[in-house]
Amino acid sequence: MAEYDLTTKLIPYLDRHLAFPLLSFLHENEIYPAEELIQAQYDLAKETNMVDYYAGLHEQVYPGKEIPAEFGQKRQQAMETNERLEGEAQAVLAVIENPDVVQALRQDKLQNLTYLKDNYNVTVDQITALYNFGQFQYTYGNYTGAADYLYHFRILSTSNALLLSSQWGKTASDILSGKWDTALEELNKLKEIIDAGVATTSTTPGVNMPALTQLQSRTWFMHWSLFVYFNHVEGRTALLETFLAPTYLNTIQTSCPWLLRYLAAAAIISRKGTGTASRTVRTSLQTVVKLIQTEAYQYSDPITDFLRDVYVEFDFDQAQVSLKEAEKLIQNDFFLEGFKEEFLENARFVVSEAYCRIHQRIDIADLSSRLNLSQKEGEKWIVNLIRDPSSALFSLSADAKIDLEQNVISTNKGSLPVYQSVIEKTRGLAFRTQVLGAAMAKRGSGLPDQPENGEEGQQGGGGHHHHHHHNRRGQPNANKTVIAEA
């Protein structure tokens, strides 16, 4: 299975600490030789301050050998640094946690700084101590503590570079301490910062730098977000929402096509997505299939192959093979491992949906075998499928009947009545036009740089007003195009 393993591709975009879980997962799965993995873990840990962990690994790597002398020194050093930094940070923390101060703090960061300086003699340097201590805690694996300090630091600091850094740090800390809710929140904040594209770092000036940095940040962001998206309850939907945004799609295409696996998996898993999900999620499968097709030349694995087989080639036999492979792959994938059942279930849906749509009479035995199910299971499954309101078959359920004697389901489907297809076609139009109007209104009211969703702007009354106005202006334009085409 090593051929499908993405760990080597993922790690370059992960923080050192984030890579540990991946490695230990590999260790359990025994795809790679255990010694190599321990060695890797050891090498990884060497640079951190997780001294005890590293010492433990040392024993495993070089059994029976003395732990090198520098180990003691390093431990000593780490302890000292820790104490020193803690002392520095504690001073500030004491002030901040003072209820009076909490009361006095406002939104305006500059004002807060002056307030602290005037009343408690807290300087910017001291505030930076919070950051330093937070970061140091992170290096020896005290993620909760790190998160805490970085949180406080973020409230006070005005330095953009450090703020960004602390944001990344906080996100990593939350991920590593497994607080998925907070982590998701942090992740969203991080995304906002990246999307806003504010030049935070004082990197070398250059015209292309910001775009490149943004691309890199996005790549990192996407890799980190996998931890959250595949652990949080709402994660898959969030993943689809994020990854399918044009900018992130481009990032995938440009710098990390392997993430297509997770995108495809998430699309399959959340196929049954409830009606409340946004259009992005509902149409995600289509989008993903298209993407897989265009990117086939640079990335493919059993999961993407599966989608291709079903939706592009309509080769259900091949799909069956791919699905089997995909199952194995998922077992060995750190992020997807927990979703094996869910994935398989939905993959079956995908297959049967496509199958049923194309065939008039469905042989249950045939379909079951394509789903890797026994005939009994298959029958049950198909009955459920017909009952399932989210499946394509549901709409046909009036016509779909199981004929037990011949063991087939027959669907008596003609093409959609014309009126229905017209309704289908025009369904979204009004809404889309509204969104258009809202977007224009927002532009007009001078909020150009805020990336917001159309839906939000639409709620505002003002937006509504503008919307009519602009819409009228937009209309003739469109008419012209239509005429020109006709």
Partner: protein, 898 residues
């Protein structure tokens, strides 16, 4: 030298005499004008006459060459005198040696000046200011030459200045009457004369004063200087610095040799080198300069130049002299001159590489005496010489292209000329290595660009040959640093990549753009469609190419067209069709690729300038993309895309919209034909194949398409034919289903598979795809065979519903409303430029993203129509823009939000 003159005069020796007579006899008034007009012819003839007549030839200095240039301007008397007096040094006439009247060059010059003076005197007497004017000019020239040779200004000149000044003022006194008497020409000449006199009087103020003060002393002084100088050239060869430098010149006779040697040694030795060089420099750009002669002089100089500095100086001068051979830009350099220039350039680089202390720079701030030898010791480290190697390399390359443009591409001459590209490539590589060693980034990228342009469009074998040749040539420079070569990179692809990356890192956006286009072209040439496509889209060139200069647009078009061909070769028919469509819609394929001239329509025509500019832009033949092959690829792709699409649409109106214009035009034309003969051209083949495909006769279509001869020009012809055959079968099946679905309720898959000789599985897959994408209203089923046996066979069941007119209209309306909203969204999207990175309605646009292959159905159709509208020269912008929009959001957003 004499040989040259002979050659020059050969053709007209007979007439020369009489013509000269005419000149001589012509009236004094017109004479000067006539002389100047007739000069170019007269010169040659005159010389010819001279050498033929003079049995008593004198051995002469080569200084005469300089003199010659001016001789022709001499007035009639002067000429006559000279003709009789001086013969031309002719080596064959040694026997007459005794009679030779040895005259030094200086004496001759002085005599000329003298003659000039006399003419002026005469002219003054008759008050002919036109003649005076001319003569004075000549005098001025002679004097200037005197000065460049660092001889003192002869008192004669000063005397004339003073005399003329006096005469002028005398004339001015009786201004009124004289002016009235004078004809207009004369009056004008008088006025100019006054100006000139004033100027030269000012220039030589000191001398004039000295002369006025004491004329005799001045002349005496001059004479003494002359005497001091005189012995050197005449009596003996001067102390030559480097004896072996002396040319073992023509002539075996000892006596003669001495003199000849002496004369030549003066010029063509290391000592006299700089002087002669300065003389040549002086004559550059003058109207009457004999450029060929200059080249000759410089060539001789090169032979005696032995110090690095002298070599560099002479080579620089020689290279420019060769380039200057043609004064007009439209004509191309003769091959000999070009080869010479290339050789010299090579040598220059070798010299520079060998002597690292000498640097050729475009801007040299320190003013130096050009006439002095310079060494690193005198300059304190490095000697900076003014000049530009990179410009010469570029000029050399341009001249090469120009000559190819002007040679008949079907003759052997073209091939012969083309062979020189290897030499040129060598020079370019050498220059690159030199620039890299010298760390001249600007020159390096320029030369790298040239290098890329030489290899980007060539097949591997050619590049291999070029590189092998270049490698040895580069090695011979013995420089420490190295440049990327084929050997070091492994294959052409990575070589081009390495070179292009070098160019991407420059600040010069022009070079960057050219580099990326070349790179795209190269990828496409090597069938790397995806990389090429991604690069094209990521570069956002589609948006801006209209603003680029025309050569850039041409390159862009070439890259796009090659991309289309690449898609075709890789079997990506849809992509090929979409890529090539734009350029074929314009119907000016050849023009857009700079492979043919603009065909003006009625009433409009190009101005001569435009025409000349366009002619200059044309690509040399060997770089052409075969347009017939291109057309074949486009039309076949169109056929495979359009025929099933046509079949799928059942109302006429939509049919008209859906099809791509160029294909439709041809198809209609083929339809109108009453009688269809056997196919002759590629087009005929494709059109008849299209018809056959429409009728379901895929076998006929296939054989027609495969019998097109031009496929043999494609590499891997067999594979392509195989692919095409397969495609024709598939599309034939689709067309058949579309056309005939109305007439069947069920069709068995096995029958279809048999009819179209496709495996049953792929038939099922094709039908499934059609059902899934709602192209075909049908479903798959199994049916028991009529004989009642147990094995069922798969069939396709059609559910065709006839729409009423009303339903049809309703559907059309719905489609239009859809298109409208889509267009609105697109417009707004462009307006907002996808600012907020999340976009304003990302959810809505999802369905349409994803670049290339939009599958069938409505989306595709609307895309097509919006693309179909012509788009000037740029080519393919819409599609590029569409994709770029997706990818671009990130970039744009990033920039805007900073």
């Amino acid at each position: 030298m004499s040989r040259f003159f002979k050659r020059a005069g050969d053709s007209s020796s007979d007439e020369s005499e009489s013509e000269e007579e005419e000149l001589l006899s012509s009236g004094e008034d017109e004479a000067p004008q006539q002389v100047t007009k007739a000069a170019p012819i007269g010169m040659a003839r005159f010389r010819r006459t001279g050498s033929d007549e003079s049995s008593s030839s004198s051995s002469e200095d080569d200084d005469d060459d300089d003199d010659d240039d001016d001789d022709d301007d001499d007035d009639d008397k002067g000429k006559k005198k000279k003709t009789s007096k001086f013969g031309w040094g002719n080596d064959a006439e040694e026997s007459d040696e005794d009679k030779v009247v040895v005259k030094s060059a200086r004496d001759k010059r002085l005599e000329e000046i003298d003659a000039c003076g006399k003419t002026i005197d005469n002219a003054v007497k008759v008050n002919d200011w036109v003649a005076i004017n001319n003569e004075f000019d000549k005098l001025g020239r002679l004097v200037i030459r005197q000065m460049t040779l660092q001889e003192p200004i002869p008192p004669l000149f000063i005397k004339h200045v003073i005399n003329l000044d006096r005469t002028l003022s005398a004339v001015a006194q009786k201004d009124k009457e004289s002016k009235k008497k004078m004809n207009a020409n004369n009056a004008r000449a008088l006025a100019t004369m006054r100006q000139k006199l004033k100027k030269s009087a000012k220039e030589n103020e000191a001398d004039v004063k000295a002369y006025e003060a004491d004329a005799e002393a001045f002349e005496a002084n001059y004479a003494s200087i002359l005497i001091a100088l005189a012995p050197a050239p005449i009596v003996k060869p001067p102390p030559v610095t480097n004896n072996k430098d002396e040319e073992p010149v023509e002539g075996t006779n000892d006596d003669f040799k001495t003199v000849g040697k002496g004369g030549k040694a003066y010029n063509f030795t290391a000592a006299g080198l700089y002087k002669t060089l300065a003389g040549v420099h002086e004559s550059r750009g003058r109207k009457n300069t004999d450029r060929a002669e200059n080249v000759r002089i410089l060539e001789k100089l090169l032979e005696v130049a032995h110090t690095p500095y002298s070599k560099i100086s002479v080579l620089l001068a020689l290279i420019s002299a060769r380039f200057e051979y043609n004064t007009t830009l439209s004509t191309f350099m003769p091959t000999d001159a070009w080869l010479g220039a290339r050789h010299d350039l090579d040598e220059l680089i070798s010299v520079l590489a060998a002597s690292q202390d000498y640097v050729v720079q475009e801007v040299v701030t320190i003013e130096t005496d050009e006439l002095v030898e310079r060494t690193p010791e005198t300059e304190g480290g490095t000697v900076h010489v003014r000049g530009s190697i990179i410009s010469s390399v570029e000029r050399l390359d341009d001249e090469f292209t120009k000559s190819l443009q002007n040679v008949d591409p079907h003759g052997t001459e073209y091939v012969d000329r083309l062979k020189h590209s290897m030499d040129l490539y060598k020079t370019i590589c050498r220059a690159q290595l030199y620039f890299e060693t010298k760390n001249q980034p600007e020159a390096t990228v320029r030369v790298v660009m040239r290098r890329v342009e030489h290899i980007y469009s060539k097949p591997n074998a050619v590049v291999q040959a070029l590189e092998t040749a270049a490698a040895t040539s580069v090695e011979s420079l013995h420089l420490k640093s190295s440049i990327p070569t084929l050997a070091s990179c492994g294959n052409t692809k990575s070589l081009v990549h390495t070179l292009c990356v070098k160019l991407y890192n420059t600040d010069n956006s022009f070079l960057r753009t050219r580099a990326i286009l070349c790179h795209i072209y190269h990828h496409a040439l090597h069938n790397d469609f995806h990389t090429a496509r991604d690069m094209l889209f990521m570069s956002h060139l589609g948006d801006t190419i209209q603003n680029a200069d025309i050569p850039m647009q041409i390159l862009y078009n070439r890259a796009v067209v090659q991309l289309g061909l690449c898609a075709f070769r890789s079997g990506l028919i849809k992509e090929a069709q979409a890529t090539l469509q734009e350029i074929f819609t314009t119907q000016r394929v050849k023009e857009l690729l700079a492979q043919g001239m603009h065909q003006p329509k009625y009433g409009s025509s190009l101005t001569p300038e435009q025409e000349r500019a366009e002619r200059a832009r044309q690509l040399p033949f060997h770089l052409h993309i075969n347009t017939e092959l291109l057309e074949a690829a486009f039309l076949v792709s169109s056929m495979l895309v359009e025929i099933p699409l046509l079949a799928s649409i059942d109302n006429e109106e939509q049919k008209r919209k859906a099809i791509s214009k160029p294909f439709k035009r041809l198809l209609d034309f083929a339809d109108r034909q009453v009688f269809q003969g056997p196919p002759e051209t590629t087009r005929d083949h494709i059109m008849q194949a299209s018809k056959a495909l429409q009728e379901g006769q895929w076998e006929k279509a296939k054989s027609l398409i495969l019998s097109i001869k031009i496929w043999s020009l494609m590499p891997e012809e067999k594979k392509i034919k195989e692919m095409l055959g397969q495609r024709i079968q598939e599309e034939g099946l689709r067309t058949y289903l579309f056309t005939n679905s109305a007439y069947y309720t069920t069709l068995s898959l096995s029958l279809l598979a048999k009819t179209f000789s496709l495996p049953e599985k792929s038939v099922a897959a094709i039908i499934s795809r059609m059902i899934w994408s709602d192209e075909l209203s049908a479903s798959l089923d199994y049916m028991a065979p009529p004989d009642g046996s147990a094995t069922k066979f798969p069939v396709v069941v059609f559910h065709r519903v006839e729409l009423t007119r009303m339903q049809q209209l309703a559907q059309t309306l719905a489609d239009k409303a859809n298109t409208m909203v889509e267009n609105n969204e697109k417009t707004l999207d462009q307006k907002l430029g996808g600012s907020g990175a999340g976009g304003w309605g990302e959810g809505e646009r999802q369905g349409k993203g994803g670049g290339g292959g939009a599958e069938g159905g409505d989306a595709k159709r609307s895309e097509r129509t919006s693309r179909g509208r012509g788009r000037g020269r740029g080519g393919l912008t819409q599609r590029g823009a569409r994709f770029a929009q997706g990818l671009g959001n990130r970039m744009d957003g990033g920039r805007r939000n900073q």
